[in-house]
């Protein structure tokens, strides 16, 4: 019975936080709005009631300071969980993240640990526009010493959060707001999962798709359609953006010999660039086709849903690339896209599902 329990990813993250805090009294939660009525999209529900204001610390608007407070308290034995409601808030914390959190263990020759977890939320949709919806994981992934995790599924998110809160590595934990809504089976006794790299979520033999976060769902949708056309897609959930573990991707592409990278960030200089370069280095002679990358265009995110409509790639873009990699003629590609439209009727690009009524 328990095994069939379905909860959303945001519930799973909240549950992980609560369980971790029960087990370890050095964990505290801090951030702007962690105790407010909305409770960070519900993810900090019950925390302040259960653990009090000393362990669930409401804060002034001071993102760089907050990051420093967390590092200093981590250096003296605590395990802070810092939450920013948008990825962009962390831009004000970058000095602390890059110079101190990421480097402290290395510079101290292994003597200091910075067990800080920073939750960042990608706020796509409902017109949030250029500074409330960015998926900036490559900025963090560029920095040696950081760990960057991006869960897509509820159960994985819970296990990843439990692990991140129990280890000594500064971790940037990036959640896509649209993944928050997605339900999945989560055992109530879910425990830590290894933060050791990608995992294969669908097996296939023709094309490997490496996807992150919300784009996993678009990739799964595209692969379901492709299957109807006898194309079998292997989907790899990147999960841990940094440190980048390529083995499973190399293994998969060695088999499929075709690769599409799909992520929630900008295409230029993005995750797809890093992964495709690495795959070209490792498997140049084995590849049947050039690696394809799908990401956001090189311009800021517009607010209007009409401008955003062509901005965000979908399963349709993925099907187009699948068509190219499999040398489908245009008719066959059109058939796939027709089938997609029947399976998933058009919804606006600015809401995660038809039931969504805003504001964020």
């Amino acid at each position: 019975m328990q095994n069939d329990r379905k909860i959303t990813m945001s519930q799973a993250i909240g549950e992980a936080t609560l369980e971790a805090m029960k087990k370890d009294d050095t964990i505290f939660v801090i951030g702007e709005g962690v105790t407010d009525p909305k409770k960070i999209f519900g993810t900090t529900s019950e925390l302040v009631e259960k653990f009090g204001i000393d362990r669930v610390i409401e804060s002034p608007i001071a993102e760089n300071g907050l990051m420093g407070f967390c590092i200093g308290s981590a250096l003296s034995g605590m395990r802070p969980l810092l939450i920013h409601q948008r990825v962009e808030f962390a831009l004000l914390s970058m000095e602390q993240i890059i110079n101190n959190a990421a480097k402290m263990h290395y510079i101290s020759n292994g003597k200091h640990n910075v067990p800080v977890v920073v939750r960042l939320i990608v706020g796509r949709g409902w017109g949030q526009g250029p500074a409330h919806s960015q998926s900036l994981e490559p900025l963090f992934a560029y920095i040696p010493g950081l760990r960057v995790a991006m869960p897509a599924f509820a159960s994985d998110a819970k296990g990843m959060m439990l692990t991140a809160l129990s280890e000594n590595i500064p971790t940037i934990f990036i959640e896509h707001r649209w993944c928050h809504y997605v339900t999945g089976k989560v055992d109530s006794d879910t425990s830590n999962v290894l933060l050791d790299g990608p995992s294969v979520v669908r097996s296939g033999s023709d094309i490997t798709i490496v996807a992150t976060s919300y784009m996993l769902y678009e990739a799964i949708l595209a692969s379901d359609i492709a299957k109807e056309f006898n194309i079998f897609i292997e989907i790899v959930d990147l999960r841990i953006i940094k440190p980048l573990k390529l083995e499973k991707i190399v293994e998969s592409v060695s088999k499929t010999k075709r690769l599409i990278c799909v992520d929630t960030g900008f295409k230029e200089y993005g995750l797809g660039a890093e992964i495709s370069a690495s795959i070209f280095e490792a498997l140049f002679k084995d590849l049947l086709k050039p690696v394809k990358r799908i990401g956001l265009p090189d311009r800021p995110t517009p607010s209007s849903r009409f401008l955003a409509a062509d901005y965000y790639p979908t399963a349709e873009n993925i099907l187009n690339e699948i068509g190219k990699l499999m040398d489908f003629n245009s008719h066959k590609v059109e058939q796939m896209i027709e089938m997609l439209k029947i399976k998933k009727p058009d919804i606006n690009a600015d809401v995660p599902n038809p039931l969504f009524k805003g504001p964020f």
Binding site: N64, G68, F69, S73, L75, E95, Q96, N113, P243
Partner: protein, 322 residues
Amino acid sequence: MDSNKDEIIDFEKMIRIRLIEEAIAEKYSDQEMRCPVHLSIGQEAAAVGVMSFLNKEDKIYSTHRCHAHYLAKGGNLNAMISEIHGKVSGCCGGRGGSMHLFDDDAGIIASLPIVGSVIPLAVGSALTFKLKKMHNISVVFFGDGAIEEGVYHESANFAKIHNLPVLFVCENNLYSVYTPLKFRQPNNDLTRLATSYGIENIRCDGNNIKKVKSASEIATKHIKDKKEPFFLQLDTFRHREHCGPNFDDDLGYREEDEIKIGFINDPILIEKDRLIKKGILDKNKILKIENNIKIEIEKAFTFAKQDDFPSRASAEEHLYAK
């Protein structure tokens, strides 16, 4: 008698810092210390005065100009000199250099070179003390430049509203590299930037160890009794260039009078005169103190020179904690 003893100990600590810094300056041209050095010469009283009211469990944080704080808090000399030489026995194993000194055993948690960057870390340690109901205090040293950084203001506000046991020590040496305070602030009273957050504060002559000590005593007592932060402004003077071993007044960025007064107010000369006048020390005793310290310094430099460089392969270690 005990107070005389304390005065001698503090004086020895100041002279020791001065002589270590002078030794670094003198040997810098040997090209064996291949990292930037920001010498504390002229600012010894601030470090020694504040530290005389801290115990080992109290934690301190410092900046790029960290040598005096490190030494005054009891940081290991060999580990410091080796670190500046990039050697394996350095406190960071050669990974940090002069601007990253720390010594956990002595309660020196970190020194960081980005101006202001260290301030919130000290507040974080104070937060730990509060959450764990420990009775220690956290102290952060920074300069007049750091107080201009937004993160100082974020830190001061947070420390106040959460009643954190942290001492902010602002050593005002009047210059951010070559840019004078008068070009950067409406006036040289920086305590207004503590007062505005409701943080109790004292401003005093940071070149006078007696005055620094009496201010520090009030500050540390206030933090422990009232469970809230305190702010000290210690006015002082940097004798040498911002970074490097040399005097640099040939560049003409400081006024003649300012230079003259600055050097007259040398914390060590002031204290030496006072102790001699009071009959607590005489020139021979001072010479003896200096000679013993010089022997210790030579040993530290010999240790550093004989110390190994870290292996090249070891550079790959400790990227992530286990």
